[in-house]
């Protein structure tokens, strides 16, 4: 019976191998590593390494980062974190094997990496993580909200514990706003290349991370993990640099515009300030940025248009009609922008009580092909304005 079973399992295996999904694995040789260079053991199967570096500038930034996150978090409560896992699809079978957390200690940054070297040691590993990941700290990550935080929570749940990172600031979101339109992509490595201008000597493709870990588990040779550990370390350092760059752009964008050191989406930066900024000063700064773009004849008309629409909406919101009219008129007259034209016509009709000029604007807008709903809207507007003009003529 078992011979038969063995035979059938072998056949099944052979069938699987005809599907070119995974390379045949060498026979396993389970071995606990004698040591991982640079790491010290915390418990059986749990290793740690702490590296320190000066971080005076980072401390300054974290002291006043209210444009990014609520001011209640003192610099000491901020953690930068990143995880390496055995798979990228998530789910209960994906394990965390390398967790890194960086925090300020005085004027230095202490970056600790915790490595799990055997699945069975996960309970002890999580205990070590729980100590280093206090639930009330503010966690800064790159794309950690959608992935890493869930993975961590899952590992705790599976071990019958609860541990939730409550406060999370994911740099992916501001980064996307600032760079999506100007860079080929918004991965951390792309931001490193174009924004942080740091190039890594040799980086690891992300699919290789779990493969190297499995190889390490099989053969027990920590050398195969070295590139993973280095990669992970650099990811966390990049996080701190990225935070400083984002902060600098949002704190004093004029400086960045003038320097043009790193291109970024000025309009989106202003939008961030308008929506997330908590004070009058930030609004003023955003307006200033937008004005510079709108009235800067050397800039790309598309960007000028977007900036003009945002600025116009901002003026409209605060009832600053004269300012609004100026912006809309410029964007409409220079670039024929539909929305600016419609806003201008509405303003002329209802605020300035000038149906005649409003009609001229509508007629000008109708000279171009418009999407069906917009065309209907314009026709409707034209009709109403003509009725108004006729009524006043006869009156």
């Amino acid at each position: 019976m078992n011979g038969d079973l063995y035979h059938r399992l072998k056949l099944l295996k052979k069938m699987r191998q005809t599907v070119p999904s995974r390379a045949p694995s060498p026979p396993r040789k389970p071995a606990m590593p004698l040591g991982v260079p640079g790491f010290t053991p915390l418990a059986d199967g749990v290793w740690s390494r702490v590296l320190r570096m000066p971080a005076l500038q980072l401390r300054e930034v974290l002291t006043d980062a209210s444009i990014l996150f609520p001011a209640q978090f003192s610099p000491e409560l901020v953690r930068f974190f990143d995880l390496e896992t055995t798979g990228l699809s998530g789910g209960a079978g994906t394990k965390v094997f390398l967790a890194g957390v960086a925090r300020l200690e005085g004027d230095t940054l202490a970056l600790e990496q915790l490595l799990l070297t055997e699945y069975g040691a996960e309970p002890a590993y999580l205990t070590a993580l729980a100590e280093r990941f206090p639930q009330d700290a503010l966690y800064i990550s790159y794309n950690g909200k959608a992935f890493d935080a869930h993975q961590l929570k899952t590992r705790f749940v599976l071990n019958g514990r609860t541990h939730v990172l409550q406060h999370h600031f994911d740099l992916l979101y501001p980064a996307r706003r600032l760079w999506r339109s100007v860079l080929p992509g918004c991965s951390l490595s792309e931001l490193e290349r174009y924004v942080l201008e740091t190039e890594r000597d040799q980086d690891l493709p992300s699919w290789e991370v779990p493969e190297r870990y499995f190889e390490f588990l099989r053969d027990g040779d920590p050398a195969v993990l070295q590139p993973v550990i280095a990669h992970h370390y650099h990811d966390i350092l990049s996080l701190t640099k990225l935070l400083m760059t984002v902060h600098a752009i949002l704190s004093d964008p004029r400086d960045w515009i003038q320097r043009e050191a790193v291109p970024f989406d000025v309009v989106q930066a202003a939008a961030w300030l308008l929506h997330r900024g908590r004070g009058r000063a930030e609004h003023k700064r955003a307006e200033e940025m937008l004005r510079q773009v709108v009235f800067h004849t050397g800039r790309d008309p598309v960007v000028r248009t977007r900036a003009g629409l945002l600025l116009g909406a901002q003026y409209k919101y605060f009832g600053r009609w004269t300012d609004a009219e100026g912006v809309w008129r410029l964007v409409f007259e220079q670039f024929g922008e539909l929305k600016a034209g419609v806003e201008l016509a509405k303003l002329l009709e209802h605020r300035r009580r000038d149906p005649n000029e409003a009609l001229q604007i509508v007629l000008a807008l109708q000279r171009h092909q418009r999407p069906p709903t917009a065309a209907r809207d314009l026709a409707h507007r034209e009709l109403r304005l003509r009725r108004k003009l006729n009524a006043s003529d006869t009156a």
């Binding site: 055995t86 789910g91 899952t154 099989r218």
Partner: protein
């Protein structure tokens, strides 16, 4: 007089029609048996029931309520429209009202069904302000709704596929739900037979394992309309002892069941009018009389053909009469298209529908008066299920079974007592099927490390060691851990053994619109270059089948033919597991490799169905490793002697015909679809060196049919013999061993040869 009374009267007066009727059975109306609302019923629930006119329960509803309240697992088996939903809603709602933290999972075999269920439940929940939160969780549920469904849904409506690939692998997100899981409802349990059922048993094992991890032990409530062995099947699927509730207490209207055998076109050759044309004309008769009609066809292609023919015939008609809208409905349509057709049937804007068995299940499509089965659906239980789609509203209804020329169909219409008297087929599952078990074991280890002492399956530990050798799991601290970067549930589809689909893209005029999808092996047979693909009555020609990228480009076209692939198969024996002499032959059960090659296709003209040409096909061959039974006719065994006893020129034709015969007879005995099983004959088999007949499973890895065939071979062969001997034809007809093929160039009578061979082989008992 209702339209249906009128049209039945006309039909009875039509002698040409009546000549084809082999049986007209009137199933009388039945009164109901009732029970009072349970005394402990929550007042709110009582109010809701009263508000919807329910003052008392059918006896089976009360019985199910009692069992579930006392903590037992049940299976409720009563016909369509007998108030099955209340059998489980009542105990579930009762519990949720008294214990709001309790949770229930409703599993329906298809997405469409779960949406219908939610609509019905929401309605009653809203009306009585029960305050029970119901949420659907399937592939179409938007991300934004998913979180709230998980956190607050007291009843989650889903399907096995979602449970398998979405919920279980991510169970830590479901901790609140799974930790309080009190009920699991499995509706339409008869669908979980064969391959699908074997997957289902494994999914339920995984669910119970995870529920246990969170401290929950849910009660199972299973339901079905027609199944021969409800308790056994339910117990195989939930793997616990289950109480059976089978006494239907609901009343039902009278039903006429008509067995119809199309008239002969050529009596000598046994050729009858085709089932497609006959189903069309009967459907037209009903539709024109104002009778809402559903036609069930056996394949996607036939569904499209019949719908197109009906619409074509109506074109003249509705210019001078009312508008009759007829839709096709089948798998492979986009969900939105299906929802629209279902809604049309409910609100009355669609009067007729032609469907595959996709509509056989309880999707609410409102009251239909007539059901026409274009061909025997392959099982008695499917027949009753399809017949039951007409007459949900307690009024008079009619069901017509139109027989095709296949032996099975002919057997059914010629033996009405057999059809009417036979209990529905039994469903069986084989959760230990190696292919299926290994797939789910991987998923289970992914979900939670597995300790060696866990009894997931009888021999799990051997399998786990095998996985460890392959490096996908790793033993550490007393348990096997998942150690691979893949997400194993992704690689397993519950519906068939391969999970990759080919997407069908309409590229007419440079557009790019996805119009459907199909699995890869059948794509090779229906979507080869230059094939005609029919979708909702539109014809498309395949411009490019790109198997590598799982994409098939089609363009709209308008031609007068459709296409059918000519498929060649060859078989290689990989391993003989068991050999025994039984039933007069050497029977070998083992593993084979089946290679399928589509080399040519036929063009078949619409309406006349004549062959109007051939085309070449070049697609790579499909390989399938499966389980087979080989009947080897050694020289000295009774079968070998019997074979040598007939004219040498007749030996090849005779063995070939027995292949046809047994493949078509055995579904009734093996409780499968005819398509689950294949047969191939060899006069001199390269492996055995003897004449032999293979019967094998149509699924990779096998599903136990070949083994079951081996066990029942005596019964199947004797049934085959009596079918062929009692057949009215002279030289073989489609009803028994197939018509004479002029290309064979044989002189003798092949049917007599088969009878002689089989009689000598299995005797006259």
């Amino acid at each position: 007089m209702s339209p249906i009374d009128r049209v039945l009267g006309q039909v009875k007066d039509d002698s040409a029609f009546m000549r084809c009727v082999s049986r007209w059975q009137e199933i009388p109306a039945r009164g109901g048996r009732y029970a009072a609302l349970p005394a402990d019923l929550h007042p709110k629930l009582r109010t809701v029931l009263r508000a919807s006119g329910v003052e008392r329960l059918y006896s089976h509803q009360a019985e199910s309520y009692r069992w579930v309240r006392s903590g037992r697992d049940v299976v409720v088996v009563t016909p369509t429209a007998s108030g099955k939903t209340l059998s489980y809603n009542l105990p579930v709602l009762q519990e949720l009202l008294s214990r709001p933290e309790a949770r229930a999972l409703y599993l329906f075999p298809t997405k469409a069904l779960s949406q219908d269920q939610q609509a019905a439940l929401n309605l009653s929940v809203e009306r009585g302000e029960l305050g029970v939160k119901v949420a659907t969780y399937d592939g179409d549920t938007p991300d934004s709704v998913r979180v709230s469904a998980r956190e607050t849904g007291q009843i989650i409506i889903s399907n096995p596929d979602m449970l398998h690939a979405g919920i279980l692998p991510n169970h830590p997100k479901w901790i609140k739900f799974l930790g309080n899981l009190t009920f699991v409802v499995i509706d339409e349990i008869h669908t979980y037979r064969g391959v699908f059922g074997s997957h289902m048993t494994n999914v339920i094992r995984r669910l119970r394992r995870i529920a246990e991890f969170y401290g929950a032990d849910p009660t199972f409530i299973c339901c079905s309309a027609t199944i021969g062995n409800p308790r056994e099947l339910a117990e195989r699927i939930v793997e616990r002892s289950v109480e059976l509730v089978a006494n239907n207490g609901s009343p039902s209207g009278a039903k006429h069941l008509i067995l119809y055998n199309p008239p002969f076109v050529d009596r000598v050759q046994g050729i009858r009018r085709g089932v497609v044309q006959e189903a069309r004309s009967i459907a037209l008769r009903f539709l024109k009389a104002g009778v809402k009609t559903i036609v069930f066809a056996r394949s996607r292609l036939r569904t499209e053909l019949i719908a197109a023919y009906i619409r074509g015939s109506l074109e003249n008609f509705y210019t001078d009469d009312g508008r009759i809208r007829v839709e096709a409905y089948r798998g492979g349509y986009l969900p939105s298209e299906r929802r629209a057709i279902e809604a049309g049937l409910r609100d009355g804007t669609v009067q007729g529908v032609v469907s595959t068995n996709a509509l056989e299940l309880g999707i609410d499509i409102g009251g239909l008066d007539a059901a026409i089965m274009a061909g025997f659906p392959g099982s008695i239980s499917s027949s009753w299920q399809q017949a039951g789609r007409a007459g949900r509203t307690q009024h008079l209804s009619v069901a017509v079974l139109v027989a095709s020329s296949s032996p099975l169909d002919q057997y059914m219409v010629k033996n009405p007592q057999y059809f009417l008297g036979r209990p529905p087929e039994e469903g069986f599952v084989d959760p230990e099927n190696l292919h299926i078990l290994m797939a789910h074991l991987r998923c289970a280890v992914f979900e939670l490390p597995m300790r060696p002492e866990e009894t997931y399956a009888p021999t799990s530990e051997i399998y786990l060691q095998h996985l460890e050798e392959g490096g996908t799991v790793r033993f550490s601290a007393g348990a096997y851990h998942w150690s691979d970067r893949s997400y194993p549930a992704e690689a397993v589809s519950l519906r068939s053994a391969t999970s990759d689909n080919v997407v069908i893209v309409d590229t007419t005029n440079g557009e790019y619109a996805v119009i459907g999808e199909t699995d890869r092996p059948s794509a090779k047979e229906v979507l080869f270059d230059n094939a005609i693909y029919i979708h909702r009555g539109e014809q498309y020609v395949v411009t490019k089948l790109d198997l590598e990228n799982r994409k098939c480009s089609v363009e709209r076209t308008d031609v007068n033919y459709y296409t059918e692939a000519l498929v060649k198969r060859d078989i290689k024996v990989l391993h003989e597991d068991d050999t025994y002499d039984s039933c007069g032959a050497r029977l070998v059960v083992g593993d084979i490799l089946v290679r399928t090659q589509v080399a040519k296709f036929k063009k078949i003209r619409f309406q006349s169905h004549e062959n109007v040409g051939y085309g070449e096909v070049s697609v790579p061959e499909e390989e399938m490793h499966t389980r087979a039974l080989a009947m080897v006719f050694d020289d000295n065994c009774p079968a070998g002697k019997a074979l040598r006893g007939i004219d040498p020129a007749m030996r090849v034709p005779a063995v070939a015909r027995i292949g046809t015969l047994v493949k078509n007879v055995s579904p009734v005995f093996l409780l499968c679809e005819s398509s689950d099983l294949r047969a191939a004959e060899r006069l001199r088999d390269p492996h055995f060196g003897k004449p032999c007949l293979y019967v094998y499973d149509a699924y990779p890895g096998g599903i136990g049919l070949a083994e079951a065939f081996a066990r029942q071979i005596g019964t199947i062969l004797r049934a085959s013999l009596s079918l062929v001997r009692d057949c009215e034809c002279s030289e073989g007809c489609p009803s028994c061993v197939g018509p004479r093929d002029p290309q064979e160039e044989i002189d003798g009578n092949p049917k007599e040869a088969v009878v002689a061979f089989l009689s000598a082989w299995v005797g006259d008992s």
